[in-house]
């Protein structure tokens, strides 16, 4: 975004928020912490009561209105019977241990009901089951049993639970969470008499409808479908199945896998961040007994052949290295397993394959972040306004040295310095001397680029030629550990949102050679 009115709105909002600062009441940290402790205690008391419940309770919820969250009013006596209601108690899952050792009870106390009294739009309700057998509505929603679609619900008072329904053909399910890491549902059960399966997931972090990014599930035919929270449509994802592992790629969120072990199927957490499609290698434990079996996968060129994986001395390969092309033909999945008898910090030494006879190698590399000095940056006049001082950081998140290229993520500091936002992420293809792309610049449009040598002059060329006449600014930084220079260019004159505004970038390298690189 970069129109003058958008910038003016941003300025007005900041001035309004800042202008009211003297009137903001002070908050008492002691009071907040006391209230927080009380909230924790209340949740623990509810959970400890739930442990006393030993039997599934079949109770109905006829007549419950969507959005009704008055918990006192929803609390019903334990002996109430409702007609036209089917229900099921979801499992007896083991407690979940959070990262700090806090034990969070599993969802054994959650009851799901389907009120079939409204035939065309049954009401699905999720209830917390208390020790006295009474239940409290956490959330409910209407669904169409003839066309059962996925549904994800949360309850602000149970922030570690996510629940919902998926079509009954689902064999395994992944609930997408923050950072798209996903969470494996604790239970997935068919609701008798319906074409629905209900799920309940426990997470170590708080979940809200906005935090849950969506659902991804594997059905009995091997298809993988996904639904993003807030959108109605279901999308079938490209998959490749090798040795009981169905791998899928979701261009919006990342890539993951469902692993079959006997009759059971488990979902591995998704590997990638939502915006950085930059991590082609994953290593995940899939079985533990006398040792740990690790599943190693990599997304590689669809034309890859002759795959091999070199493991570190701590891990012994089991079986062969396999290669399978995704159903959409965009990439192939390279896969192998190894076992360790003890813990191991590093599993993979390298992966290798060939493309058209040319050998390629991938090495796992740790990410790092480099900050571009912001002083003097983005201070040129632009369309009659002055850019605020903003920072920019460049993060090379993953470095597969030879293929498909060296990915670099550009992340800009938010105006208050309180976070980073991904602005662009792309690789420089092997053999190319530069690439430039438009990217997000917050209040201003930006172009980002990678060059193979240090640029000394950079001039964006727009369409029409006068597009950037009001001025541009640029900065560059060497990406450590690579032969790449990251370039960021602030643009002007992009207010009309027309396509193809950036035609190319003319730049000069340190040797004085001029280049013209078409915009990607």
């Amino acid at each position: 975004m970069s129109t003058e009115s958008e910038r003016a709105i941003a300025t007005a909002l900041r001035e309004a928020a800042d202008g009211a600062a003297p009137a903001y009441p002070a908050l008492d940290s002691t009071a907040v912490i006391t209230a927080g402790r009380a909230l924790v205690r209340r949740r623990r008391m509810v959970r400890s009561g739930a442990v006393l419940a030993v039997a599934a309770v079949v109770l109905g919820g006829a007549g419950i209105v969507k959005g009704q969250h008055d918990r006192a009013a929803d609390r019903l006596p334990a002996d109430r019977k409702d007609i036209g209601v089917v229900s099921v108690t979801l499992g007896q899952a083991q407690p979940y241990t959070a990262t700090d050792g806090t034990v969070i009870d599993g969802p054994s106390r959650v009851v799901v009901t389907v009120d079939t009294s409204a035939v065309d739009r049954p009401n699905v309700g999720f209830y917390a089951l208390a020790g006295d057998g009474s239940r409290t509505l956490m959330a409910n929603e209407t669904v169409d049993l003839d066309r059962p679609g996925p549904l994800v619900l949360t309850d602000p008072d149970e922030p570690h639970l996510t629940f919902g329904v998926v079509p009954s053909t689902a064999r395994a399910l992944l609930v997408g969470g923050p950072d798209s890491s996903g969470d494996v549902p604790r239970d997935l059960r068919r609701i008798p008499g319906t074409q629905l399966e209900a799920f309940v997931s426990v997470t170590a972090i708080m979940t809200t409808e906005a935090v849950v990014s969506g659902l991804t599930w594997l059905d009995a035919t091997g298809r993988v479908s996904t639904m993003s929270t807030g959108e109605d449509g279901v999308t079938e994802l490209p998959t490749a199945t090798v040795d009981g592992v169905t791998t899928y790629v979701d261009p919006n969120f990342g890539w993951g896998a469902f692993v079959a072990t006997g009759a059971a199927v488990t979902a591995l957490p998704e590997q990638l961040t939502p915006t950085d499609f930059t991590d082609p290698l994953r290593v995940a434990p899939t079985a533990q007994g006398s040792g740990t079996t690790w599943l190693v996968q990599a997304l590689v060129d669809p034309a890859a052949e002759s795959p091999s994986i070199s493991f570190t001395s701590s891990c012994t390969q089991v079986g062969s290295t396999a290669l399978a092309r995704l159903s959409d033909g965009t990439r192939s999945v390279l896969q192998a397993r190894c076992t360790t008898s003890q813990g191991a910090d590093t599993i993979v030494a390298s992966l290798a394959y060939t493309v058209d006879g040319t050998p390629r190698t991938m090495l796992p590399v740790a990410p790092y972040v480099v900050a571009v000095p912001a002083e003097g940056w983005l201070t040129v006049p632009a369309v009659g306004a002055e850019h605020p001082a903003e920072g920019l950081s460049v993060a090379q998140t993953v470095d597969p040295p030879t293929a498909p290229g060296q990915w670099v993520s550009f992340r800009r500091l938010l105006f208050d310095g309180q976070g980073l936002d991904t602005a662009a992420s792309f690789p420089l293809a092997p053999g190319a001397d530069a690439t430039f792309q438009l990217g997000d610049g917050g209040g201003y449009d930006m172009a980002y680029g990678l060059t193979r040598s240090r640029p000394t002059a950079v001039t964006p060329v727009g369409s029409p030629a006068s597009r950037f006449a009001a001025g541009t600014a640029w900065a560059t930084v060497k990406v450590p550990g690579t032969d790449l220079w990251a370039v960021a260019i602030s643009l002007t004159g992009t207010d009309d949102h027309s396509p193809h505004q950036l035609v190319s970038v003319e730049w000069t390298d340190a040797s004085g050679q001029h280049h013209t690189t078409p915009a990607g």
């Binding site: 009115s5 941003a10 909002l13 309004a16 009211a20 907040v32 927080g36 708080m206 809200t208 938010l414």
Partner: protein, 168 residues
């Protein structure tokens, strides 16, 4: 597995609260249009953050808490169904100064926007989030963000001009 002592945890949280409150309060004010309601919203947000604190990574604590805040706002609407957007904000007298007038009006106009439009405008133009990040935080599509931002901006363009040219 290491457990942090309760006192240590509270000290770390108190430090976080001190650092994060000004930023959260500004966002809450734009979402609610009232400094008092903003304070209540931030306090409720921080209480939930405290309850979840063992599971929150320090480097993402503010972003995570901000996410709670946005959803807490949604929760508030659900729980106080009698609350409606009003055409004017009652807790502050209408100022005479030009700059104050613009601040007052932008908050007043924000308050008249539908909830999602208001959230999108605040996240996109105040929090400076990208369309993709705004969509991810609100759990909606990028297209919905674009649409809400466009409509929200159209409404906010009713802001009066100032000596510096106002909003066109």
């Amino acid at each position: 597995m290491t457990r942090t002592s309760k006192a240590d945890r509270d000290a770390v949280f108190a430090a976080f609260m001190s650092e994060a409150t000004p930023s959260l309060m500004r966002t809450a004010y734009l979402l609610t249009g009232s400094t008092d309601t903003a304070a209540e919203l931030v306090q409720a947000t921080l209480v939930k953050a405290y309850a979840a604190w063992p599971s929150i990574r320090p480097e993402t604590a503010l972003a995570y808490t901000r996410r709670i805040l946005v959803n807490q706002r949604t929760d508030g609407w659900r729980r106080t169904r009698h609350e409606v957007a009003v055409a004017d904000v009652p807790d502050r007298p209408r100022p005479e100064d030009g700059t104050e007038l613009l601040r007052h009006d932008v908050v007043r106009l924000l308050r008249t926007l539908p909830e999602q439009q208001r959230k999108v405008v605040v996240l996109r133009y105040y929090q400076d989030l990208s369309e993709a990040s705004t969509a991810e935080m609100l759990g909606i599509s990028v297209g919905a963000v674009k649409s809400a931002a466009s409509r929200g901006l159209a409404a906010l363009r009713a802001l009066p001009a100032t000596t510096e040219g106002g909003i066109r």
